[in-house]
């Protein structure tokens, strides 16, 4: 018990000695701390941005809709010159077949996607138009926050109506509500019937920069290039009742489409079927790699900061060789000297770490506000920052401290 108290007292003394020594060379101490500060700052910020990217990605996956498969035609990328029959095709009838024959399917949403130019008196915008059916709203979880979404009768009558995203609305109608207004899409007049509920943006991808029109209208009025068949689509969203039917459904869709397109055995599919689960997994992996790269780069600056600490501690040991000799003469053990310099390095690192962490928290909140990108710094990140700084202190302060403790008392005392 007495030993513990004694060593406690010793540590307190060491902190006091360290603070005195650091104050003596204030400018040097500040510059050294700056290295650790920048290192901790960048590592924490990198972790926060990485976390934010993951949050953002999972939000984006959620906006896609859950338990969904996306069927996209895939041109044959095999050898030889491309032939027309190699080009992947997908039709509305394929979608109907999927709904009819694949088990567990709740809805199919065939879509045609096309870039369009929208003009109102005095303003214009270029955006992506999705020609869709009411099922698109159900499968991908999209509703109108104002006005209404597409109905079956809009499709049947190929009505010139559009539901527009918030970004488009803000560009074309900065002050008034767009609902009921007339816009010209590729010179064709359309009536705005609704405003899409905002889905925000993820990783620089603005989900609100789009419009939705009836698939029939888009095909008849807006397509500038001819399609192969009268009911060709760009892609089909297939909604499933639950995750289990999604997993089995993916294979069933592939089998069904191979049959329908008479794909010979051994030839690759002229289409791809991806599920939201797969997309979540791959993007999750991508963001993890993204985060790892960020943290790795940031760690380099922490390493440099640590080397700075070691450099200054070596200088400090050399400058104070005589003091070390004196302390040894007065009864300091090797461990006392070692601890004194370890504490000094640790104090430098902890101060740098604390300032770096505070700056990272500040930067993250500015980042969130200005870039509208989440950069969460959790308690775990904060603890990691403190632990990181301590480890840096021990690792890079360790060598100079041990060197100091190995000095011979008489040689240290004799040094000038």
């Amino acid at each position: 018990m007495k030993d513990v108290l004694t060593s406690f007292a010793g540590w307190g003394v060491n902190v006091a000695i360290a603070l005195t020594a650091l104050r003596t060379n204030l400018m040097r101490s500040i510059l050294t701390t700056l290295g650790v500060m920048i290192g901790v700052f960048s590592v924490i910020l990198a972790v926060a941005v990485g976390n934010g990217a993951q949050v953002s990605v999972s939000q984006q996956i959620a906006t896609l809709g859950s338990n969904m498969a996306i069927v996209v035609p895939q041109p044959d990328s095999g050898s030889g010159p491309p032939r027309p029959s190699d080009r992947g095709r997908l039709t509305e009838r394929d979608g109907q077949a999927i709904l009819r024959e694949v088990s567990g399917v709740s809805a199919v949403a065939p879509q045609i996607r096309s870039s369009v130019q929208i003009v109102t008196p005095g303003r214009s915008a270029t955006t992506q138009a999705t020609g869709a059916t009411p099922e698109y709203g159900i499968v991908s979880n999209i509703t109108a926050s104002e006005g209404r979404f597409l109905t079956q009768s809009d499709i049947g009558s190929a009505a010139r109506v559009a539901v527009i995203g918030e970004t488009v609305a803000n560009k074309l109608f900065p002050e008034t509500s767009p609902v009921g207004e007339t816009i010209r899409i590729n010179r064709v007049p359309f009536t705005v019937i609704g405003l899409l509920e905002s889905k925000g943006s993820n990783l620089g991808n603005d989900n609100d920069d789009q419009i939705v029109v009836p698939i029939t209208t888009l095909r008849q009025r807006l397509l500038t290039t001819a399609t192969q068949g009268p009911d060709d689509v760009t892609l089909i969203f297939v909604g499933f009742e639950d995750e289990d039917s999604l997993l089995s459904g993916q294979k069933e869709i592939e089998r069904l489409l191979r049959d329908r397109y008479r794909v010979a055995k051994g030839k690759i599919n002229p289409f791809t079927v991806r599920t939201t689960t797969e997309i979540a997994e791959t993007t999750g992996e991508v963001t993890q790699i993204f985060q790892a790269v960020l943290v790795a780069i940031a760690s380099i600056s922490l390493l440099v900061g640590g080397i700075g600490i070691m450099n200054i501690m070596l200088v400090s040991v050399t400058e104070r060789t005589r003091e070390i000799g004196l302390r040894m003469a007065l009864g300091a053990k090797r461990s006392d000297i070692r601890n004194q310099f370890l504490v000094e390095a640790a104090v430098l690192c902890v101060i740098g770490g604390a300032i770096g962490l505070s700056l990272a928290i500040l930067a993250a909140s500015i980042f969130e506000r200005v870039a509208e990108f989440p950069a969460p710094i959790g308690l775990d990140t904060a603890i990691m920052a403190v632990a990181f700084s301590a480890v840096i202190g021990l690792v890079f302060g360790g060598y100079p401290a041990i060197r100091a403790s190995r000095l011979s008392p008489i040689e240290a005392l004799r040094s000038e």
């Binding site: 003394v13 302390r327 053990k333 090797r334 006392d336 008392p409 005392l413």
Partner: protein, 237 residues
């Protein structure tokens, strides 16, 4: 008969300088009893400082035996030697060796840190020692604000703060003027009168005359070891 405070048998310290071995201390056997006041003299390079470093446990003998308070120092590791320096020996240096930017009080308290004494007790003991040195009104002064004589008195207070058996003073008056030197010698004499053993290294013959016994070194060996005739007294300042 009580054991001598310090006993050396055939003590040798060799240095290798430029491939040549120099016997800095060559086969020295002597003994110092409790309560003695010894002056170790000799020209520079005579081995007196090397001898003092060894009896102060700062330097390790090449061969021979050094018994300190009956303990054979050969058997001790660096931690045990540190403890002996802390508990049994008080050092006073020519250049005072006080920590800069540190108050007199904190300077005197340093050895107590390594003795594991708590903060309040450290301050109390350090203050007592400084007051005994006549520095009651200088407790918070840093060395830069003290005269040479005051600094040396702080250093003596520091040497005494762990109640050591022996004061080892290496040229303690070397950086002081004549009057201040006299004051410091007075302090040593008074401390010696109170029972503490004092070993003083000096090259000044008149300073050595304040000691009771004089040991003279030349070429690493003792060439004279005798009581000081007509010992001088200085009144403590």
């Amino acid at each position: 008969m009580t054991t001598p405070l310090l006993e050396t048998h055939n003590l040798v310290k060799d240095y290798a300088i430029g491939g040549e071995i120099v016997h800095a201390v060559n086969n020295v056997s002597l003994s110092i009893s409790r309560g003695e006041f010894v002056a170790i003299m000799g020209a520079s390079g005579s081995g007196k400082s090397t001898f003092m470093n060894m009896i102060g446990c700062l330097d390790i003998p090449t061969s021979g035996t050094l018994l300190l308070d009956g303990i054979d120092t050969k058997t001790l590791d660096s931690d045990a030697l540190a403890e002996i320096r802390n508990r049994k020996i008080g050092f006073v240096f020519q250049q005072f060796n006080l920590l800069a930017r540190t108050s007199a009080l904190d300077n005197v308290a340093v050895p107590l840190i390594y003795a594991g004494i708590g903060y309040a007790e450290r301050r109390r003991r350090a203050q007592d020692r400084l007051e005994a040195m006549g520095l009651a009104n200088r407790l918070q002064n840093t060395p830069a604000k003290l005269s040479g004589g005051q600094q040396q008195r702080v250093a003596i207070a520091r040497a005494l703060v762990t109640d050591p058996l022996m004061l080892l003073a290496d040229e303690p008056t070397g950086a002081l003027d004549t009057q201040t030197s006299l004051d410091i010698m007075g302090i040593f004499q008074k401390l010696n009168d109170d029972g503490i053993t004092v070993v003083l290294v000096t090259h000044e013959p008149d300073i050595a005359e304040y000691a009771a016994r004089r040991i003279v070194f030349r070429d690493g060996q003792v060439i004279e070891d005798a009581a000081v005739k007509s010992r001088r007294r200085a009144s403590a300042a």
